[in-house]
């Protein structure tokens, strides 16, 4: 988490109210880290802390791709659709391949809660594109057979 502006508890000054609201993104990051995703409960708590309505918090959170309003699978498979990955013919074929194998579309989670498929921007592995990230683990130079092996291994892990 990042140092943000000084927090105050005063709320009669519009500027101070504004500063409280300015903590919202940082607060959502913290809540997401604790809960794994932004559940109703997490949103409720953030709203209470910052004197905002649940609607305000939800509307803001839903604008940003980094905030997850759905439960996430145990393994978050992030396929890069950045430029370098695209140029080597990655992205679309890989996304389609994984989507077909898991039977889910990007943004969805398998019914057993194991995998979430996501499409993301550059993973900073352009030199070894195409790249796929699973949770915090990066996989480079991906091929269809490498995906087969990866998914097989993850299926077997508990």
């Amino acid at each position: 988490m990042v140092a943000t502006s000084p927090i105050t508890t005063q709320t009669d000054n519009p500027l101070q109210d504004g500063r409280k609201r300015a903590m919202l993104l940082a607060a959502l990051y913290i809540a997401q880290e604790q809960f794994g995703w932004l559940s109703e409960e997490a949103i409720q708590r953030v709203a209470e802390r910052l004197n905002l309505t649940v609607g305000q918090v939800k509307s803001t959170a839903s604008f940003y791709t980094m905030f997850k309003l759905q439960p996430q699978g145990k393994y978050r498979i992030q396929v890069c659709e950045g430029l370098s990955c695209y140029l080597v013919g990655g992205a679309e074929p890989i996304i389609n391949y994984i989507a077909e194998k898991l039977g889910i579309q990007p943004g969805e989670t398998t019914p057993d809660g194991k995998f979430t498929l996501e499409v993301v921007q550059c993973l900073a592995a352009c030199g070894t594109a195409p790249a796929v990230k699973v949770n915090d683990e990066l996989y480079e130079n991906m091929t269809f057979s490498a995906i087969d092996q990866l998914l097989e291994r993850l299926q077997q892990e508990n």
Partner: protein
């Protein structure tokens, strides 16, 4: 430029790095410390003249004099639009309301761009010093750096740098014993490209949806929390200390008359030497791509270079002698943008390439205004149709019609510029579009609706590997017999090419 690691003249074989072709044509102002100092030690920045410019500004110059130097240097903002920085500062200074805010736009979201990230990671103090000078000039005591969340190392280095600057008294109360006070905070984005637009960025700092609003009022009049605010790009701030130290004339002597100083690009794509470069404005695309970038790998033909990222445009080989500066690039049909430079070769289909940027930009539409939200989607439908071989002759007019509307009626530059890459590729590579539509052919053999996979009979050994691996079951053939791919079943996924050990499959 003095380097602590002085390149020793070596009479034998090893050339100094400044002699390498990649570096020889470069002039490093914003990148002068990157890779040379340890960004986690403020002492190393100070040894290289760091914070001298801030000291000079606050102890020897009035705010108006600082603005005067910036105006004389004619520095144009490096975030894309190229607005003169000194004039922007003057607007903010003249705004009567208080407090005022200094904001650094570090939301760099263009695919293939990583200039701002390199500066934040490699030389964070140059940005902090530039922001402090801006704060002194406009009369602000509080600043924000809005950094995209995808750059954790940049954020970490910034945090360290801000802390050290506070300890050394370069941030905080009564800087250099004067009555100038200024402090700085980091705000982390959350994955929305449109937040790079300055009004959306300020909404996001305020903890709201990052939707742009119409300008005027400009941020200099009513910005963050409706107070006067000055927004500049990372590179603009990083160049500021050098301008204050070395003077406006020095800066204006580099580059061209209307675009002084240096241009910073992230060279990527089909090019031998990828990486960050800083060259005097006015250097030609040819010099950058061939002399610095070392040309196209694998003996392939250069096809196009995209500048300005997903909101820019591409230029063909005929335009390689265009000098790189704000005005010449626009004249040629592209834009400067914030500094991505992507080179593609003969294997890239320009329809597909344009579709890539369009997919990116239209997905980032915040949805607030109709031309951008609907127009982007409609354009994408047309390009998809063309790529699938279902294009109609009137589609090219349709592209131009939608593009014109988006350009004229969208609320912010995102919508206005989204059709840019499509328009540029249509202008310079019209024949490729026509080949897709009339001949149902993709000249670069990329578009899946227009290619067929075929077995090269002489090479096929009948090993059956492709048949076993084909997910669609499109391949037939007996062991040691030439195989056959049924084009009606084939999904063009490319797995057969990947697994074939005998180069026996080709695309037609």
């Amino acid at each position: 430029m003095e380097s602590p690691v002085q390149p020793q003249p070596n009479p034998l074989t090893i050339p100094s790095y400044t002699d390498l072709p990649f570096y020889r044509k470069q002039v490093r102002i914003a990148l002068r410390n990157c890779g040379i100092i340890n960004p986690e030690r403020i002492e190393e920045y100070i040894e290289r003249g760091g914070y001298l410019a801030l000291a000079k500004a606050v102890t020897e110059m009035t705010p108006d004099e600082v603005i005067g130097v910036m105006k004389d240097s004619k520095l144009r903002g490096r975030g894309g639009a190229g607005f003169v920085t000194g004039i922007k500062w003057e607007f903010a200074r003249r705004s009567p309301a208080k407090p005022k805010y200094v904001i650094c736009n570090a939301d760099e979201g263009d695919p293939g761009a990583f200039m701002d990230r390199s500066i934040l990671e490699g030389d964070p103090h140059s940005v902090i010093e530039g922001m402090a000078i801006a704060a002194y000039a406009i009369g602000s005591e509080e600043g924000y750096i809005y950094c995209r969340a995808e750059y954790p190392l940049a954020i970490a280095h910034l945090k360290i740098a801000i802390q050290q600057a506070r300890e050394f008294g370069f941030l905080g109360k009564n800087i250099f014993g004067t009555n100038f006070s200024f402090d700085l905070y980091i705000k982390e984005g959350a994955g929305a490209f449109v937040c790079g637009e300055e009004t959306a960025l300020m909404a996001s700092i305020e903890g709201r949806r990052g939707e742009p609003r119409p300008r005027p009022p400009f941020p200099a009049v009513s910005g963050l929390w409706n107070k006067p605010s000055n927004v500049n790009n990372v590179k603009s701030y990083a160049m500021t200390p050098q301008i204050i130290l070395n003077g406006a004339e020095w800066f204006a002597s580099i580059g061209t008359e209307s675009s002084p100083g240096t241009a910073i690009f992230a060279l990527t794509g089909k090019i031998n030497h990828t990486g960050l470069i800083e060259v005097p404005m006015g250097t030609t695309l040819r010099e950058i791509i061939y002399d610095i970038g070392g040309g196209i790998p694998g003996g392939k033909q250069f096809k196009a270079v995209q500048t300005g990222g997903p909101l820019g445009g591409c230029l063909p080989a005929e335009a390689l002698d265009t000098p790189v500066d704000f005005d010449s690039l626009v004249q040629a049909g592209a834009t400067m943008g914030s500094g991505g430079m992507i080179v593609v070769d003969e294997d890239t289909c320009m329809v597909e390439f344009a579709k890539y940027f369009l997919t990116f930009a239209s997905a980032e539409s915040c949805g607030k205004c109709v031309p951008c939200r609907i127009g982007g989607r409609r354009l994408l439908e047309v390009l998809t149709r063309i790529g699938n071989g279902e294009g109609k002759p009137e589609d090219l007019d349709e592209i131009e019609y939608i593009s014109r509307n988006m350009k004229e009626a969208s609320l912010c530059a995102l919508g206005q510029l989204t059709p840019g890459p499509v328009m540029a590729s249509l202008r310079f590579f019209r024949s490729e579009y026509e080949a897709h539509i009339y001949d149902k052919k993709c000249p670069a053999k990329v578009c899946r609706g227009l290619i067929t996979y075929k077995v090269i009979e002489e090479n096929c050994t009948g090993c059956m590997v492709c048949k076993r691996n084909c997910p669609a079951g499109a391949i037939s053939g007996e062991k040691r017999q030439v195989h056959y791919i049924d084009p009606n079943i084939c999904e063009r996924c490319g797995i057969c090419i990947e697994v074939c050990k005998f180069d026996a499959i080709m695309i037609e």
